[in-house]
Symmetry: C2
Subunit: 327 residues, 2 copies
């Protein structure tokens, strides 16, 4: 058995989900990979919160440098959220020879070029599967099994909050404001839902998907983005008359002149399209490649455990490379 | 630019689709990977068939040993189909230090243990993404991004012919025999449809999926398998009254006592389940993992180009490893 030590930045909901995924499946991970993954240091201020996982007080630190300069730590998981200081921390970790795994779509989308080039310069891995579609394994598919394709189009339902709101408006004939209130009460929408309902979160994810599938990084600020706040009961009824459902769609396609064109906006999707059946908090990514044809990935696009699944999958991929080299 | 030379066993429909995928996307593959993939030798008797690809006569050989003993060839793609001589050829290639990529579900399912152990002993890669779900990237997802999960259940629609027949019976209220005849005329079913309609093809794929997801190899012969030949118009109507659709489902689940239980049989799937909307020649794999929750992969489970996409994706994954080591 080989041991890989990990530093974790942030033990909030997603950090706790990642930690629990490892705790829950440590035995099967070890037996299938021969690797013992250990989260040895955690950067987190709130050390008293009840989390229902086994963490000892000495695992916590308040000093990120303690993680970056620890020669025993090979992989840093960044789950602080937000662009800074997350980006600075990821860069610092890479410069200290650590591979980095993150779920942070805002930071990856804002600083994609800098993060990927810094990883390359320092010969470390940088993985961010969890940043798009939570537990849905779409980024790795694009860069591995599907890499022999030229991609023609990607259509995504990439935000659970807005898809929940649109689904409820459609199913019960309700107004936007009424559904938003219920969604906030149920914890499906945040108290300040702006980043979700205005499409910013989706634009971040589309920027990342586009960079991987089309080899072109388009900053989220340059993506034409319309959210769902203007959608009315009447819009949904009118779509229904056209045998369509309204979904908030992230779209990238190649125009006939070869330009990569991105947008985020509510669209009418025909009821017999696979994306029309993606309801409530579920996400899906629909891809057309010139060899594979039409593909769709469907699953939970958020939540501590699905996101933890993708985080620990990325960690294991890196751990396999590191331990193979140490043979 | 680094060059990787490939030997191809079989230039039938799938071989031609794989060759065309490479021909079509050679530029983008080279620019994204820095690797020039070349199929230098092809084992194929029918050298005169019109294939609409650029193959020169000197690429063909009638002697498999010419491929296995060629020191310049690193990867062998096996697309002969059938258990033998495909298995013997794959083993021979591995023993000569070649990595192997195949779409051959019958051979992989029949000889899974021998093929994987021989690859390990000879320190070569053995990949078979295309053997399950054609172009759908499910096997790689299970072994990489999803590897931190314990899988609880897999439900698959893994055969396009039977799904086409059941979909047409459902949509038009037709009898099995009538739809089969039309499917055969349209080329969606073979003249002898036994392997499809009796579920053998699906059992092969389920054996492979189960080995990867549950770490347990169950030979296809030991999987309880019922096909669709007994399904009547009345069965489908009765399912409809229960708000269900009949699908040929490959299922593996862990029982409460931890036993891995496999079966292939027609099942009533509730209309609101994501698998119920998978129609005609499409395939889908629905997975429940203890961290990721519910996931579904959807796409074309067969056909020269979707299968070629998976074949060349596997080839590129191996080529990346080989060229990295030659740095």
């Amino acid at each position: 058995m080989k041991t890989i030590k990990i530093g974790l930045l942030g033990l909030g909901n997603i950090g706790t989900g990642s930690y629990r995924t490892l705790e829950m499946n440590r035995d099967s991970i070890a037996s299938s990979s021969g690797i013992d993954l250990r989260i040895t240091k955690i950067l987190e201020k709130d050390i008293l919160r009840k989390r229902d996982i086994t963490v000892s007080p000495e695992q916590f630190t308040q000093d990120p440098a303690e993680i970056f300069t620890d020669p025993e730590i090979d992989i840093v998981i960044e789950l602080l959220g937000g662009i800074e200081p997350a980006t600075a921390f990821m860069l610092e970790a890479m410069r200290n020879g650590k591979s980095v795994v993150t779920a942070n779509k805002a930071a990856v989308a804002a600083n994609y070029a800098l993060l990927t080039s810094t990883a390359k310069e320092n010969d470390v891995s940088f993985r961010f599967e969890a940043s798009v579609g939570g537990g849905i394994p779409v980024l790795n598919a694009i860069t591995t099994v599907l890499q022999a394709n030229k991609f023609e189009e990607i259509l995504g339902i990439l935000n659970g909050t807005t898809n929940y709101i649109l689904t409820q408006m459609t199913e019960y004939g309700l107004d936007y404001e009424d559904v938003l209130k219920v969604a906030q009460e149920k914890g499906f929408a945040e108290a300040d839902p702006t980043a979700d309902v205005e499409g910013e979160d989706v634009a971040n994810k589309l920027s990342i998907l586009t960079a991987l599938a089309f080899g072109k990084y388009i900053p989220p600020k340059e993506i034409s983005t319309v959210g769902i706040t203007g959608i009315t009961k009447a819009d949904i009824e009118s779509a229904g008359k056209n045998e369509c459902k309204i979904k908030l769609i992230a779209q990238t396609k190649k125009t006939s002149s070869g330009v990569v064109d991105c947008s985020v906006k509510p669209m009418e999707i025909p009821e017999d399209h696979p994306l029309a059946g993606v309801n409530n908090e579920f996400n899906a990514i629909f891809i057309r490649g010139n060899a594979v044809g039409e593909l769709m990935f469907y699953g939970k696009g958020a939540g501590p455990m699905p996101t933890g699944s993708a985080i620990m999958g990325d960690v294991l991929e890196i751990a396999r490379i590191l331990t193979a080299h140490r043979n």
